[in-house]
């Protein structure tokens, strides 16, 4: 029954207007569709997923709309069982034969409503250059159990996915990734160097203070701008952690090593920081 019945339900979504824009009906009018899909259990959800095309050009707009509507619906208070069923069904579709386009869409719905139980399935996508960003964004939205997936994936990654995952570990302020951040400071890729500096600032890594501050003062251009920002963040986080001595060292380094006549606007910022650090 499922595929035909589900197709009938999905088809109840109103068509687009002539211009291709979407008007929509009330939640009350949509609930029978959403409840109907959920009533069919995991098979109901995966039947809608099976309607997704590789390319989002409007042909499968009703299936995409229904999945997203259910994602919002099961996020309501008191819908825990329906949410668990829905996200389990979505996660089961990742990493298999489903087209990359459809998997990307499924990952984005898990970004909306997924839980820690979705993390392993999303983690498997981090090694896929086409899906890494969507998986990382979903994991960062979910937060719970995300850090383990990023840590596990990082050692084998190169290029764009490596940057995506390293930055994600910075977003999560993962102190256990300190060595990975430090290693990135010496990378040939500017974005990786900056992600490393920012990650170290996020975790208030006192042992990296001199290296991050040197990056700020010994470089120029964009690298100097962002490394200075990381230095100030590191100093602030060290201050918040009670490590005034190292924070003061960063501020002094920023003040003493700047090129005469440039970055004068930073003087006030660093001087104020130094005062807070008791330096």
């Amino acid at each position: 029954m499922t595929q035909d019945k589900i197709a009938e339900l999905v088809d109840q979504v109103p068509a687009l207007d002539k211009r291709g824009t979407f008007t929509g009906t009330t939640w009350e009018e949509n609930l029978p569709i959403f409840d109907g899909v959920l009533a069919a259990g995991r098979a109901g959800v995966t039947a809608v997923v099976a309607m997704l095309k590789e390319i989002d050009d409007g042909v499968d707009y009703k299936a995409r709309y229904v999945l997203h509507g259910i994602a919002q619906y099961v996020g309501r208070p008191g819908k825990d069982a329906a949410r668990a069923l829905f996200i389990d069904a979505l996660a089961s579709q990742l990493g298999g034969e489903l087209s990359k386009g459809a998997q990307g869409y499924v990952a984005r719905q898990l970004q909306v409503v997924g839980s820690k139980d979705s993390a392993p399935a999303l983690g498997k996508l981090l090694a896929d250059p086409e899906l890494c960003e969507y998986a990382a964004q979903a994991l960062l939205a979910i937060r719970a159990a995300a850090v383990e997936q990023f840590r596990k994936a990082l050692p084998d990654l190169k290029g764009g996915p490596r940057l995506t995952v390293l930055q994600a570990l910075g977003v999560l302020a993962d102190a256990e990734s300190a060595d990975a951040f430090k290693k990135a400071l010496g990378d040939a890729d500017l974005d990786l160097r900056l992600a490393g500096a920012w990650g170290l600032a996020r975790i208030a890594d006192a042992g990296s203070a001199d290296q991050v501050a040197k990056m700020a003062t010994a470089t120029d251009g964009w690298e100097a701008i962002k490394a200075t920002s990381a230095s100030l963040l590191l100093a602030e986080n060290l201050l918040a952690a009670g490590n005034k001595a190292v924070a003061a060292r960063i501020y002094k380094q920023l003040l003493s090593n700047r090129v005469e006549g440039t970055r004068a606007y930073l003087d006030e910022v660093a001087t104020e920081g130094l005062r807070k650090a008791g330096g």
Binding site: G58, Y65, H68, Q72, Y73, L140, L163, T262, Y265
Partner: protein
């Protein structure tokens, strides 16, 4: 997701962007000669980032009452035109220049926060087109950065300057800020004019190869990677969640910013939000009926589209008046001073004091747009903590308040 051709183009554009970054990693030293100490009448160096649509008007606003020499124009559609002297595709190269003091940002909103933050980090003052941000956490980051670096920020909407000189508005402002109202009876209703259908996105378009003059990867920036379809760029971007937030986000900062000042809400946000709308589309902004937002003191703000569903009929508009106060409170109110005049961008740049539409105030106004859109997108009544700037007891709604960014971009 990308078609084969779109994937090909993605790789091609990523390659182009990477090559560009490498090429310009070592910038001409002449660009880094430090600016001389400025006398009050000296000329400021100006740059416009985001040259289409509202860009030129935003730049013009930035130069009002200041001596500004335009030294750079930057747009992701300048591929083939960029000479990295006056014309740029990559805003990072513009911000590296130490002879630029003022930056006007006219890009789509998904770039506003990141470019504003980077500009402040590079020591520039900023006039940024509205709406200020794409999501709530961006605004907090902008406000904190401008505070940290002591730079000037002004949002590109100016209605509050007139409102702050209007006698009736000053009276309402004083009543609202006085703390003398026992129960706040104020209800502000904005009905219509929010371009809901006009800025609804189109769903039925097949991905195409981006135009040769457009750096699509750089255009997308921190937003999720999507294949190129023409309406996602060039004004019609307003109809997509990834870049703006429909007519509501586009128009409501204009509409609400003056009244946010009048009603004295520059330092707080609503605590309850409820929307009447259909289930939202995942990609495009679409129709909604009304949104009701209530502050902790009872003041209610209503946006009504007039373009979908039933009319709003819960509360009547009411401006707080002297009659809402008792006799004793009216006397106390008369003794209170009028609010300080708001500084224009030019005045703020010259005096190094906050502009009238500063980052903190602009962020509070942008929060209103985001709260409204998140209520539409989640389809449920939300509670918000104006201090933590988080939804209360709704982890899923909070996912919209702080969206993950695509590397290398982050707050």
């Amino acid at each position: 997701m990308a078609s084969r051709s779109a994937n090909f183009n993605r790789r091609k554009f990523l390659g182009t962007a990477a090559a560009s970054a490498g090429f310009f990693a070592v910038s001409p030293s002449s660009l880094f000669a430090g600016p001389k100490r400025r006398s009050p009448n000296e000329i400021y160096g100006g740059a416009l980032i985001g040259c289409g649509g509202r860009g030129p008007s935003t730049y013009k606003e930035m130069t009002k009452d200041l001596e500004v020499e335009q030294r750079a124009q930057c747009d992701v559609k300048f591929v083939g035109k960029a000479d990295n002297k006056m014309f740029y595709t990559d805003f990072r190269r513009v911000l590296e220049r130490k002879d630029i003091d003022l930056v006007a940002i006219g890009t789509p909103p998904h770039w506003h926060a990141l470019i504003s933050i980077a500009a402040a980090e590079a020591g520039k003052d900023v006039l940024c087109e509205k709406p200020m941000t794409r999501f709530i956490a961006e605004g907090r980051a902008v406000a904190d950065t401008f505070k940290r670096y002591k730079r000037i920020f002004q949002i590109g909407t100016f209605g509050r300057f007139g409102e702050s000189k209007n006698k009736n508005s000053i009276l309402i402002h004083k009543i609202m800020r006085s703390g003398l109202l026992k129960e706040n009876p104020g209800v502000f209703v904005k009905s219509g004019g929010l371009k809901v259908k006009e800025w609804s996105g189109r769903v039925n378009l097949a991905p195409q190869t981006p135009p040769a003059n457009l750096d699509w990867n750089l255009y997308l920036g921190a937003s999720p990677w999507k294949p190129y379809v023409p309406p996602r760029h060039g004004g019609t971007h307003r109809g997509y969640w990834d870049y703006e937030g429909g007519g509501l986000a586009d128009m409501a900062q204009h509409t609400l910013d003056p009244y946010q000042w009048t009603y004295g809400k520059d330092d707080t946000s609503p605590v309850e939000i409820e929307a009447y709308a259909p289930p939202a589309h995942p990609e495009v902004c679409a129709m909604w009926g009304w949104i009701e937002m209530t502050y902790a003191d009872g003041f209610t703000l209503v946006l009504e589209s007039g373009e979908w569903g039933n009319k709003y009929d819960r509360k009547q508009a009411h401006k707080p008046v002297l009659d809402d106060l008792d006799e004793d409170s009216r006397k106390k109110l008369q003794a209170l001073p009028d609010p300080e005049p708001l500084l224009t961008f030019a005045e703020a740049v010259k005096t190094r004091k906050q502009a009238g539409g500063n980052a903190e105030a602009a962020h509070r106004c942008a929060i209103l747009l985001h709260l409204a859109n998140i209520a539409i997108r989640t389809g449920r009544k939300l509670k918000f903590d104006p201090v933590k700037e988080e939804f209360v007891g709704d982890e899923l709604a909070n996912r919209y308040a702080n969206l993950p960014m695509r590397a290398p971009w982050h707050l």
